[in-house]
Symmetry: C2
Subunit: 122 residues, 2 copies
C-alpha cells in the first residue's frame, strides 16, 4: 500500500505545442518506460485545447468532469460531457477543446479495448 | 472514433458480497477476457463500502470525487479524498468506505506501476 497524489498541484504542463491550457497528472508509469499502457488525468482550463493530431495508440478518452467539444476524423464538432467517452484507433485525427473547463481520463495501450456490454455484463 | 458511455445510468451492481452501495462502470475490456489490464469507475453512494479482502492484482485506486476512508494491511483507517491515490500490491488487505459518497477510478493490471516523478517528469 503506497499513497501518491494526482492532484492539480502535482500536474505538469507537457513539452510540445499540442496542448494549450491543459495540465497532465499521470497515474501510471508511461509507455515510454515499457509500460504496456498508460493512464493520466488531463485538466482543461476554460479555453483549454488539444490541437488536431493523429492518435498514436488505441485510446480511451473519458470525461470525468465538465464538458467540451471533440472534432474527430470527419472534422465535425460534437459536444461531449461528464460520463461520456470515446474509443480512438491509431491514426484517427482528433482535436478537443473546452470553453468552460473539463477533466478527462486518457488511457492508451497496445492491447486496449473499450468495455462492450454485450460480451461482459453480468 | 467510437463513442460510449460510463455514466451512472449504465453502471451495474456486481455479483458477490464485497461491494455494498457501490456501482461499477467499466471503461475497458475486462482481464477475464484476456485484457492485460482493466479500468472502471466505482461510485460509492453515501454509506457505500468495499469489504475487507486481499488485492488480487497490482492496483491503482484513485479518488476522482468526494472522500472516504481506506483501511490497508496495517488495519488503521486513513482518510482519502479527491486527487489522492493508492498503489496496491497483490495480497495487500484492503477495505474502503465513504460516509458522504465518492467516485473512484480503479486500474488493475499484470504489469502496472504507479507514476513515479523521479524517473518520468519532464
Amino acid at each position: 500500500m503506497e499513497r501518491f497524489s494526482f492532484a492539480s498541484e502535482v500536474a505538469f504542463v507537457p513539452h510540445g505545442d499540442l496542448l494549450d491550457g491543459v495540465t497532465v497528472a499521470p497515474l501510471t508509469a508511461p509507455m515510454s518506460e515499457q509500460s504496456p499502457f498508460q493512464a493520466a488525468i488531463f485538466r482543461f482550463a476554460p479555453g483549454g485545447r488539444l490541437a488536431r493530431h493523429s492518435a498514436t495508440a488505441l485510446e480511451i478518452f473519458a470525461v470525468l468532469e465538465g464538458s467540451g467539444e471533440v472534432i474527430g476524423p470527419d472534422a465535425v464538432g460534437e459536444p461531449i460531457s461528464i460520463g461520456e467517452a470515446i474509443f480512438w484507433s491509431p491514426g484517427d485525427e482528433q482535436e478537443m477543446h473546452s470553453a468552460t473547463g473539463m477533466s478527462v481520463l486518457i488511457i492508451q495501450g497496445e492491447r486496449l479495448d473499450r468495455f462492450r456490454r454485450s460480451t461482459a455484463t453480468p
